[in-house]
Symmetry: C2
Subunit: 186 residues, 2 copies
């Protein structure tokens, strides 16, 4: 087990759409389930679903309640275990305020398929997580990725995932899985 706290946030705003416009994406039920299970598998401390839209926050809260305390908790205890560390927040400030209650110093790491500046390699970040106590918050964008404003806020950017092919259109669910495995899986 590694020693630093690792957090992840799935951002639904501010992100780009396919045309480069800043939008708020809808929360996908599948994202919540998939990413919570992956996060729990890799020992992530908390998974934050970030959306500024009150109705979307309410929807996510109801889904989480179903699996944490409602019928779902009895039906599928392993899903409860994954959702016990999953929370919904309105923005990055709220996420950071929540993390700082237990981890006052946290490094913000942006991720994305087209990042090319201030890159840190997966092996270097994985080593830092294993060997230091510096908490890390990994930011993942939905839609076509995090906006420049959010990337500029981050302390560093993680090198994009590349396969052997030129094609580079992973889903955010696959990107989270591969990223956590590269950082925490060995």
């Amino acid at each position: 087990m590694y020693s630093a706290s690792v957090y992840i946030a799935l951002m639904h705003f501010p992100v780009y759409n396919r045309n480069g416009q800043v939008v708020t994406t809808a929360v996908a039920n599948m994202d919540i389930h998939d990413i919570a299970r992956t996060a729990r598998t890799y020992g992530v401390k908390r998974f934050f679903i970030v959306t500024p839209i009150p109705e979307q926050k309410e929807l996510v809260s109801r889904i989480l309640h179903h699996w944490k305390e409602g019928y779902g908790a009895e039906f599928n205890p392993s899903r409860k275990e994954a959702f016990d560390m999953t929370e919904v927040r309105k923005d990055l400030d709220e996420v950071l305020a929540s993390i700082r209650k237990t981890d006052p110093e946290v490094q913000l790491v942006a991720t994305g398929a087209s990042l090319d500046n201030a890159l840190i390699r997966h092996d270097a970040l994985g080593k830092a997580i294993r060997e230091s106590r510096q908490a890390q918050l990994l930011l993942f964008g939905t839609g076509s990725g995090l906006t420049k404003d959010i990337v500029d806020l981050a302390d560093c950017c993680l090198e994009p995932i590349r396969g052997p092919a030129a094609y580079n259109h992973l889903s955010v669910r696959a990107a989270v899985a591969i990223t956590l495995d590269r950082l925490l899986g060995r």
Copy 2:
């Protein structure tokens, strides 16, 4: 780029449900999209969606047609590119017959969270793929995993994915992503 052909099959039958009964699972639209994109990213030669139910085959064919040749192909060319190597088949025999037209010799590799017999490690299989021309077909189970009959048919079993935590309930979409990255991503 590696030299062997790698194929993957997502099996909807025969698989276990949560109670250990042999069932046919429903095809999930999200699986098709996610796994096709991941497969394309890692240079997989073909992704087979396997279901014996005619109505499910028809549904998958319609989804694939939409993105390969219908409106979707124009709307999202990168999705077309992923779906161009995605096919639906009724069973493993049909998959093997299709592969053998171009790759007469193919090794069957079972995957699953609870496999414990005849295990091959990710690095060993990755090395084999890079250094030999032996084609590989990776079998992924939906539901609670491939049945013993299918596992027994396979030439070998891939070591299960483990994170640092004891929890071990990845979605099949996450398992495919992590497996392909471990085998083909470096």
